[in-house]
């Protein structure tokens, strides 16, 4: 199979899996009772997933990235503005890399 077909096959698989996660909750709600423990595990997953993505990327990068990451977090926390926090992050990592390198 060529690379293009593989890419579309992967995208199709992602689409089917994602749609199934979207409909499963409604489908099951009237049929199965979720235990409180399962609910707590599912509820905590988005946060732990995002942390597991970002922490290794940040901690194994470098000083510039760690400092810029702190700036990004502070700005996001204070302003609640995603776009602005992104701008601050990108600009500060650019500046810090010039300084440190």
């Amino acid at each position: 199979m060529d690379a293009n077909s593989q890419a579309y096959l992967t995208i199709l698989g992602m689409a089917v899996i994602t749609y199934l996660t979207r409909v499963t909750g409604l489908f099951l709600t009237n049929r199965i009772r979720m235990t409180p423990r399962t609910e707590i595990i599912l509820k905590s997953l988005p946060g732990t997933i995002v942390v597991s993505i970002v922490a290794p990327a940040l901690l194994t990068a470098g000083l510039a990235e760690i400092i810029a990451g702190t700036f990004t977090g502070l700005v996001a926390w204070k302003t609640r503005n995603l776009l602005f926090a992104l701008l601050v992050g990108v600009l500060s990592v650019w500046a810090l890399r010039q300084l440190i390198a």
Binding site: I11, P36, L45, W94
Partner: protein, 228 residues
């Protein structure tokens, strides 16, 4: 809530525009990263049109190396999007009243932002199920358009690391993590997830560290519940 009208769809779309703009900024980053990851424009847009789930799409780009690790991408997609199961269950009191075609059709367009907006609207008396579909369509339009623009921008910028643009991915997830923070209770599972994921990242090849970190943090949270 029993009705489902065009005017409800339009109302949902309009109310969701501010959220659409913030999703659009995220879509720009996705498009730019997609062009860097070597997807064609068509592949990048088909992914937006069919998958329509930002975080999982950006993570897929992180994994997008030749040969494609198809199993890892699909498993990660499932784990990242498993939160939809709970979201679907939470909106059931309203969407469950619609005919199956309308309910399961609307759920295709269910994103974090319009899901939260619709729950808020239904709780404060919104009586038209079309609101949920309309708000989802709004996010969809912004997401696809922004990805398109971002992809073309990504082609112009040759080496994103020169401008610090490679950092955009980390920055997006820092912001996303903060928006998911609900209080001190998260501290222990998040610390465990961060530590396990970082250790697994150093010790193991590939991207399994995401699953290992997330599961260790969340299973600990489940175990802790049983102890109380």
């Amino acid at each position: 809530m029993i009705i489902f009208s065009i005017s409800g769809i339009i109302r949902g779309f309009q109310k969701c525009i501010p959220l659409g703009i913030s999703v659009g900024s995220y879509g720009l980053v996705y498009g730019m990263l997609a062009s860097k990851a070597g997807l064609t424009l068509a592949q990048a847009l088909v992914m937006c049109l069919t998958v329509f789930a930002g975080a999982s799409q950006i993570i897929a780009l992180e994994l997008w190396h030749s040969p494609l690790p198809i199993a890892a991408i699909l498993i990660t997609t499932f784990i990242v999007n498993s939160r939809h199961v709970l979201m679907g269950a939470a909106i059931q009191p309203w969407v469950g009243q619609l005919s199956p075609i309308k309910a399961y059709g609307s759920l295709f367009f269910c994103a974090d932002e319009n899901w939260a907006l619709s729950i808020k609207a239904f709780k404060s008396g919104e009586a038209d199920g079309g609101f949920f579909l309309g708000s989802g369509l709004c996010i969809y339009v912004f997401w696809v358009t922004a990805a398109w623009i971002g992809y073309l921008g990504g082609l112009i910028v040759e080496d994103p690391s020169v401008y610090g643009l490679d950092f955009a991915f980390i920055a997006v997830f820092i912001v996303l993590a903060l928006s998911l923070w609900q209080g001190k209770r998260e501290l222990l599972p998040w610390t465990v997830a961060a530590a396990t994921a970082t250790a697994a990242h150093i010790l193991l090849p590939g991207k399994w560290y995401i699953l290992i970190g997330a599961l260790s943090g969340s299973l600990l949270e489940g175990w802790r519940y049983g102890r109380k």
